[in-house]
Structure formats: C-alpha cells, structure tokens
Amino acid sequence: MSGGSHQGSGGGAGRGEQSMVPSAEPQKYDSYYGRPVIKAPVWKTPDVPLYLFLGGMAGGSSLLAEGAAATGRPGLERVARLAAASGAMGGTVFLVHDLGRPERFLHMLRVLKPTSALSVGTYILSAFAGASSGAAALEVTGWFPRLKRVAGLGAAATGPWLATYTAALLGNTAVPAWHEGHKELPFVFAGSGAAAAAGIGMLLAPTAEHGPAIRMALAGGTAELVASELMERNLATGHGVDLAEPYHQGRTGRVMRAAKGLTVAGHLLTLLGLKWPWLRRLAGASYVAGSVSLRFGIFEGGKASANDPKYTVVPQKARAAARGERKQSGSLA
C-alpha cells in the first residue's frame, strides 16, 4: 500500500507488470445487476462541453491577443481580444445555467478551496473574465491603450490556466476514462484550446495577419492529436480492461473520430491555405469544429465509462490483486 505520497503512479498500480491480467481477454466480473458503481456527472449537455471549449478557446485567444499586440497585428489582436472576452462571458453563462440553483452562483466565491479544481477554476475564470473583458472593452472603445495591455497581460497570464484547469476538473473525479487519463488530458486540452483560438483567428482576422495563428493552429492541433493518442493508448493497457473503449464506441466514438478528422482537415486546409488564403477561413472553422467535437467526445466518453460498472470493477480488482501479490512476494508495499 503506497504511503502518503502524492506522487503515486496514478491510474493503475503496477502498470506493465506481469501480474496484471492482459486486457485483451474479456474479463469476468460481478456487478450489482449491471448497474453503475459510481455516478456519472449530472452536468448538462451542451452547457459543460461548450464551456470546456470556450475556456480553451478563450485561453488560447488571450495569448494570441497579447502576441498580436506586441508584434503590431491589430486585426488579429482585435479578433483575439473579442474572442477571449466572449469565450469567458459565454462560458460563464453556461456554467451558471448548469447549476442546480443558478441564483446561488455567487456561492462559488464563498471559499477558495485548493483541493477543488472547480473552486480554483472559479477564481481563474473570474480573474480571466475580468481581465479579458476589460481588455476587449478598451480595445473596442480605443481608450487607455496601456491599461488595455495590462489587462491583456493579466488575461494572458490566466488564460492558459483557464484552458487547462478543466483537465484537472475532469481528472480529479472517480470517472475512470478521465481519472486514468489525467496525465495526458491537460495537454489534450491545451492543444485543443490553442487550435481553437488559432482557428478563430484564421476565420475572422485579416489574412495578412494570419501567420501566428497558422503556426499556433498547426502546433496546437498536432499537440492535441498526439496527446489524445498517448492518452488513449495509456488508457487501453494496464488496467485489465480497455478504458479508452468508451471513446471509441457508439456515438461518442463517431464524435471523437470526427474531432480528430476535423483537426487533421484543418491542417490540410491550412497547408493548402498557404497557397490559397481563402482556404484558411475554412481551416479555421474546421479547427473550431474539431475542438468543439473533442470536448463533447471527452465529456460523453467519461460519462459512458462511469455508467458501465466494468470500467470501475475490473481495474480495481486487478489493482488490488497486484497489490496483494506484491505484498506476498515481499516487495515494497
């Protein structure tokens, strides 16, 4: 039994050790009439998946905005600032709407609880929303340009956290397909957020200022694809059952494949768009759609992994068995 360390090997003890039952074979397991062991999130669709998307997109946009401001790309800067602010505002609306008691949304600010990603995220979002809205307002009105930069820098400082903290939000639950993927998921979200922000830029900003957006989209989209692949591979092995399965089956499987396809299409269109600029708009839209789809896929996939007891029971039994064997063989508890 690992002691009080927070640096435990995360999902699945003994990953890769021979004492684990290979997940290729269908596992025999008991359950209570096939009912879920844990409870799937009660969060609403489309509210929460859209919030995930908007947070990522807004976070990426805040970086794009500051970069554009620093390198004299006013068209891109304006688009990015507005995108960041609307993302933050829109996201906040969805979050409040998702509450069981929306009129009590301010209760989120009663405490700051470091152990709760939702609590931490509330403050990140508040700070970001304030900064990005301020920056956007000043952008639109043209007043106090230096204040605008300060606000913008504040947004850029909190933006990446806004884009990635949601991976902690999802990962710090009992949901198997999220918790066991908690190492890779932040990178998936970071990449996706960057691609989405860049996509907005490519969609709406003047083509002359596309450069950074293109680079960000290519890098972000690739990061998203690579991190997803890694996450799914790690989910599939070492747990006794394929935890990536919920992301591949049924409608969720189609959405996830669509997400990846749209991102890849975005890349293709971007590369083609180097020659034919108008294709970049299409690429931008593709990246945005891909990012939205990805969030829906992750969300639904997680819920599916919570609803089927096999994803909870089999890995836990394997883990307990491995621990028992390690104890028996005298190796480190």
Partner: protein
C-alpha cells in the same frame, strides 16, 4: 487547521483536528453494518426518509429481487441491496462467489430477453444446493478522505465535529461536482430541487446525543452506531466469530484506516465480494492524485504559453 500529506490520503487518525476542530472535539462516530444479520426489512430506508423528510423516489418494480430502491442517491440515503445467488458448490474458505454464480443477473424488465438465473440443479430432488440471499443496507461511507468534500467549491460540504461529512442545503448551489467525485457513487443532485443531498448520519440527532434513525430502527442491530474505534474492534471480533463458525466468506469492507480512502466512517461486514453488492472493490479517493494532476496541468499550461510565444517567431505572414 493542519494540512499535511495525510490530509488527502493515507492513514489519518484524527480527521476532525485535521479539519480544524479544537482538541476537545467529540470522538469520531460511525456505522458498522453487519450484513450477516440483515433481514432486508427496509426499516432503515423508511425511518431515514421519515426523519429527514426525504421525498419518495418513484414507484417502479425493478425486478432486481426485492430491491426497488435501486441505489443510493439524492432521495435514497439508506439502500437495501438484495442479491440471490444459487449455491451449487460449497463456498470454499476465503474465496469469492462460486463460478456458476458470476454475473448473477435476474434480468431487468423490458430489456430484451432477460437471462434466467443459472439453474443449479432443478432436475435433482428439491432442497439440495439451495440459494443464498444476500441483503445489505448501504449508506454514505463518510470517508476519512472524502472526494465529495475535497471537491466541493462552495464549502457546502463540510466535516462535522463527529468526523462525518454533511452537505448544507442552504449553501449548495447544485454545481454537481461532488457527484462524480465519490468513489462509491453515493451523493447525487435532486433534479427538481437542484441541490446535492446525502446521508448526514442524522447530524441533528448526533448533536443532542441521539442515535441516527436507521440504527435506531434496525430491529436486528445489523446497523450499529457508535464510536468508530469501538465499532472497528467489535467488527473484528464478529468476523473472527463468523470464521470460527465456518463462515469463511465473511470479511470487513472499509474498516482499514490504511485503505484508499483512509477507512470509512461507515463500514461493513460483507459475505461476498464488494462488487456483488455494487461496491467498488478497491476505492481510492481521487484527490490522492491531486499533486500529479496539477503538476501535469501546470506543465500543459506552461507548454501552451511556450507554444503561444513561439507562434510569433518566424516570418511575418
């Protein structure tokens, strides 16, 4: 308030002090549910609902043996599970259910063609083989390391001076984060009400030195209430007693303060594997991995910044 590595994971003997209570706090109170003497009467379910004014949960015949409450949720805080298992081989010492009994599924109504249970030996003279009927009253575990409590952003969930975990309905705004945070699938949001609800271990009754309603109502004392340390000792003795009587399958669940949630404030004596009752075989509080989680988030955020900055280097285009 102390905050140490064991605040989130590992053995924590004084959970109330860790939560910030003064030294003279009351002893930690808990439940020991001995399912070997549960008669499935459901007095616990009714008594709980009556005292706590929990609404009824809908009228549906589930076909899950005599369990029509289905699971713990926002409007069922004590849930009696029923599992019928054919016994065609004697259950060997120390092992789990017989092979023939795996995946016991009496079938849910209107879900295709349900599986009839394995027959055992209906061709043989009656009375042999036989059947086991496991019954168990499930409840919130009031974990030492409670995922719901760690994740509640409003402070609605809090640790009481008795070491229990309680939701304050006047603060909860129904964000629902506690729901997937629970490794046992206990807490839930009441849909027409919007807030999260779960067992309070009758906090109002504890405050006046009274016993929670389920324990009070249980006729066979399957549900036992008292100081957690004393309950653990009692449970150890009971398991020994059962083993001596040849009931090798008896085991404790959630008793061990070194387990994945630091031990449960409400723990059980089971007569089969936990998953047979719908319980997780090896629950670990999700916040054990909090450090790793934020570390990777930080790395990703940093990576995103780097990516963002790097995007602006290169030819102007």
């Amino acid at each position: 308030m102390t905050f140490s590595p064991t605040s989130l994971f590992g053995r924590l003997d004084d959970v109330q002090s860790d939560a910030g209570y003064a030294e003279d706090h009351p002893p930690r109170m808990g439940f020991f549910t001995d399912t070997s003497i549960c008669i499935g009467c459901k007095a616990c379910e009714v008594a709980c609902k009556e005292w706590n004014m929990v609404p009824d949960d809908g009228f549906m015949l589930t076909g899950m043996s005599y369990d029509n409450s289905q699971s713990l949720n926002a409007s069922t805080w004590r849930h009696v599970a029923f599992i019928e298992k054919p016994v065609d081989v004697p259950v060997p010492a120390g092992s789990g259910p017989s092979p023939a009994a795996s995946g016991t599924d009496l079938g849910m109504p209107s879900v295709g063609v349900p599986q009839l249970p394995l027959i055992g030996d209906q061709e043989a003279p009656s009375g042999d083989g036989g059947i086991r009927w496991l019954m168990s009253s499930d409840v919130c575990k009031h974990c030492t390391h409670a995922g719901c409590l760690d994740n509640c952003p409003t402070g609605a969930l809090f640790r009481t001076e008795f070491g229990t975990v309680v939701v304050q309905p006047d603060i909860c705004n129904g964000c629902g984060y506690c729901v997937p945070s629970c490794p046992y699938g206990v807490i839930d949001v009441r849909h027409d009400d919007g807030r999260a609800w779960k067992c309070t271990m009758c906090y109002d009754r504890l405050k006046v030195g009274e016993t929670p309603m389920c324990a009070k109502a249980c006729p066979t004392e399957s549900i036992q209430f008292g100081e957690l340390t004393e309950l653990r000792e009692r449970a150890d003795r009971r398991v020994e007693e059962l083993h001596a009587q040849g009931v090798e399958v008896a085991r404790l669940y959630g008793r061990d303060p070194e387990d994945g949630v630091g031990g449960d404030g409400a723990f059980f004596l089971l007569l089969d594997e936990p998953e047979v009752y719908g319980l997780p075989p090896d629950p670990i509080v999700t916040t054990r991995d909090l450090g790793s989680i934020w570390k990777h988030v930080g790395m990703a955020a940093g990576g995103m910044v780097a990516l963002g900055v790097a995007s602006f280097f290169g030819r102007r285009k």
